[in-house]
Amino acid sequence: MKKMQFTQRPKALLALLAVFAFLAATLAGCGGNGANSNDIHVLSREDGSGTRSAFVELFGVEAQDSSGEKVDRTIDTAEITNNTAVMMVTVQGDAKAIGYISLGSLNGSVKALPIGGVAASAATVRDNSYPICRPFNVVTKGDPLQVLSPAANDFYLYIISSNAKAEVDGNGYVSMDSSAEYESKGAAGKVTVSGSSSVSPLMEKLIEAYNKINPNVSVELQTSDSSTGISDTLSGACDIGMASRALKEGELSQGAAETTIAMDGIAVIVNPANTIAGLTKEQVRDIYTGDITSWDELG
């Protein structure tokens, strides 16, 4: 009876066998090369992200090719995520991973590597010894003290005041020098702030602290990206724009003006179990361009 069943369904049986053979073969194959290799798992942000463009520019991953065109040479097998949280969870769970995030988002779940012997921290960004940082700007259409509505002006004065400084430092960013203390002039109204998702978490904290002092101004926060924030400001769709990069020629010529409210370092992160003590700028570049592929090469 059993024999008959087999001869009745040779095709089905063969297909089933083939599937099992395929699965077994692939699993065996993967197990073989995965067990003892010490490959670096490179994580990057998506093309177009402000953090990525700052990273590739500051580390020299971006270079001009023979025709003078700027090329982002990030290795194409790099894992891509569009989310800082996913980047951190991945690095936390993968002993061979390397990634990068905004210094302000850094917490104890991952290890930030010193670059060229300098630890990534607010203090080293402030004294200019940590080389990888970028400005957080607010953007206005013209001189902020003249063009802003009374309510927006009041909020702007708070952002650049010494009161905001504590808020900036307290959240892992690096504040700018400011001596002017904010004093509410009793302004009321509505302010719209729009732009970079990197600046947005800081702005959220600032708004919260500001409303404790002056609850009469309601600030609406719209999170998108730097370019949108700047074009919204120029078109009048928002009062104040947020940008995690310096303004470009074209934007300046349209009347945009920037005020740096904080500096943000970019931290290179690895798994806490990773024994590497630090990297140089060149090593990070070579890892991201694929010239260094194994942790063994870094000793």
Partner: protein
């Protein structure tokens, strides 16, 4: 009589209008996609767009071949994982399952169907990825994405094929028993072949679910832009490609993502065409 007709007219119009809403939006979506996607494809060149292997929008290189391949691989993997488990579960549910277990199994499947994909994604990220990394050295890869998607298509495959199996007349099963077959053999060689088209439909629906899934895949597939080299390599599918880059894209970059959506739409249309062919056969 006249009064009745008077009331019927507007109501008929109301129902017709309600029915038109979905048609209207499908047409609108297609029109929007084609209007912004087709010019972008024209600018890039259809051949270069579909078969290009380098994606570097800032240097004018728009090749989506790796993502096309990624979608096919991940979907095939999901089918390999999800269909055997799903169909066997359906057989169990339709024929052999004791009532007490069915009471547990049915809600579990419904719950699995209702679980938001971001939760699947998070599960994949914190549980599945480290697991495959330890077992096979794969981590975020085609393998992990396939496993996760295989789990996600289970409810679709189970519920559609179980109802197909239940629709087979009892006499098929009993006839086979009467001829001396064991209950298992009657099920596998008489009832399942009779429900073949229903099970095929379940598989096709599973495929379309797998092709369209974005959020969960994005979290476990690794999303690299390289052409996938093996089952352990990182991969980006069409849907995740659109989702991941839309936030910062502008100009031709943005239009090329919409063009990617057009390709995806065509893919889904082909799948539904296959489904209608299967249904016609029935």
């Amino acid at each position: 009589m006249k009064h009745k007709q008077f009331a019927e007219g507007p109501m008929r119009a109301l129902f017709f209008a309600a029915a038109c809403v979905s048609i209207f939006f499908v047409v609108l979506i297609c029109a929007f996609l084609l209007a912004s996607g087709v010019p972008a494809i024209g600018k890039i060149g259809l051949f270069r767009f579909l078969t290009g292997v380098v994606w570097r929008p800032r240097n004018g290189l728009y090749g989506i071949f790796p993502f096309l391949l990624g979608s096919v691989y991940v979907t095939a993997g999901a089918i390999l994982v999800g269909v055997p488990v799903g169909v066997l579960t359906a057989v169990y549910l339709a024929r052999f399952c004791p009532k007490a277990i069915a009471k547990l199994l049915d809600p579990a499947i419904s719950l699995l169907a209702g679980t938001p994909s971001i939760i699947f994604g998070f599960f994949g990220l914190v549980v599945l990825t480290p697991l495959t990394e330890r077992l096979f050295g794969a981590g975020k890869s085609i393998l992990t994405a396939s496993l996760l998607l295989g789990i996600m298509i289970l409810p679709t495959v189970i519920s559609v094929s179980a109802s197909a199996l239940r629709a087979v007349p009892q006499s098929y099963y009993e006839g086979a028993l009467a001829l001396g077959a064991t209950p298992e053999r009657s099920m596998f060689f008489s009832v399942i072949p009779a429900a073949k088209s229903g099970i095929m439909a379940a598989i096709v629906l599973g495929v379309s679910r797998a092709v369209g899934e974005t959020m969960a895949v994005m979290m476990v597939a690794g999303n690299s832009t390289a052409v996938p080299a093996g089952i352990a390599s990182r991969v980006r599918t069409l849907t995740t490609h659109i989702a991941i880059e839309m936030g910062y894209a502008e100009g031709l970059h943005r239009d090329s993502l919409i063009a990617t959506a057009v390709v995806l739409l065509v893919l889904i249309l082909i799948i539904y065409f296959l489904l209608s062919l299967i249904k016609k056969e029935k």
